[in-house]
Amino acid sequence: MAEEDAMFDPTLIKKKKKKKTAFDIDAALAEGSGDAIENVNNSISNNVADDNKEEDIDDNVDIDLDFSKKKKKKKKPFNMEELESTLPDGKDKEDSALDNITNQDDSIMDDNFDLDFSKTKKKKKKKKDLDELIAEADDKQDDKENVEDSTVSWTGSDRDYTYDELLNRVFEIMRDKNPDMVAGKKQKFVMRPPQVVKIGTKKTSFANFTEICKTLHRQPKHLLDFLLAELGTSGSVDGNSQLIIKGRFQQKQIENVLRRYIKEYVTCHTCRSPDTILQKDTRLFFLQCETCGSRCSVTSIKSGFQAVTAKRAAIRAKTS
């Protein structure tokens, strides 16, 4: 213990001296206002004095504790007085630097104390130059956790991270560690757009209907049922394997419905892979994924209530 203290103390004092001068310069650069600099100087000298006192007193105290106490003391005067006194233009720079410092302090406090030594040394160096400090802080974070991304937006702030940020972070990590997955994600579902042609004024032809069924690996009847139920109309496949639908529909509208079909009945609900099989099992359809093996039931196709749109006289004529 005594040895360690001996090793430890001189460096600390040196650092503090360095720190003081270095910080003055930086503060001057960043702020350019005499009052502010004075304030900062005061705070720093107070600070150093405090710390020196503490060192004298704390010789026998556990080093770990020592550290945390000092850091807290350093932190408080910096934050409070400087934040209040700095000019708006200098403030931003200062803030970020301060945030970095506090952040490091936190991390150091959590670490065990072997590490502390190396880190405190770094920290002292850093205080010479703000830019250097920021750069080093980044380096250090990289050392500590490879996964920590520079885009992580809560680094350098005391605020709580949001759920979205955490989600982004975990996805970034996953992408970093599994380049294959990124490739898999890019492999998108490419499909020809539906060819939709008007037939007269009352009918629409979906020319490549059968082809699309093949690319989707689905029974034409299943897709037909879905289309007709969604569009609330009737229709059938003609001799040229094109679908004739009653009513006027645009390509965009058919595309929308197709997209919904693919989402519900083609792509896996778990991993979104289009490599799936639709099986009928006791009145229910199940979507079995060939990629991830998940199996889930899909909603059955029901056309539901159909309003009477044909001319009532015509219906009466038919039935009677």
Partner: protein, 110 residues
């Protein structure tokens, strides 16, 4: 003396009622149908029978400036029928009036 908790309250009464209505999944299906020409029709199926559909249709007609009726269907119960493409309107109105939650609404059509 009777035990208050054990009286003739059937917690599954609602569930049973839902079953014979064939309101299959508790969803409100909002569909669109083409009529002759550019004309369309919006149907709303699956609204709880606890609500007075006639009142609802009256309010909707006024709100969306369209005509509409309530149709009694043997399988699907009372169905709301409005003229024109009122899918957006009815979704907003139903959620605003608190008659259905957004995730209960299922909009069909193009």
């Amino acid at each position: 003396m009777s035990i208050q908790n054990l009286q003739t309250f059937d917690p599954f009464a609602d569930a049973n009622k839902g079953a014979d209505d064939d309101v299959q999944d508790g969803l409100v299906h909002i569909r669109i149908q083409q009529r002759n020409g550019r004309k369309t029709l919006t149907t709303v199926q699956g609204l709880s029978s606890d609500y007075d559909l006639k009142k609802i249709v009256r309010a909707c007609k006024k709100e969306f400036a369209c005509n509409g009726t309530v149709i009694e269907h043997p399988e699907y119960g009372e169905v709301l029928q409005l003229q024109g493409d009122q899918r957006e309107n009815i979704c907003q109105w139903l959620t605003k009036a608190g008659l259905a939650k957004p995730d209960q609404l299922k909009v069909h059509g193009f």
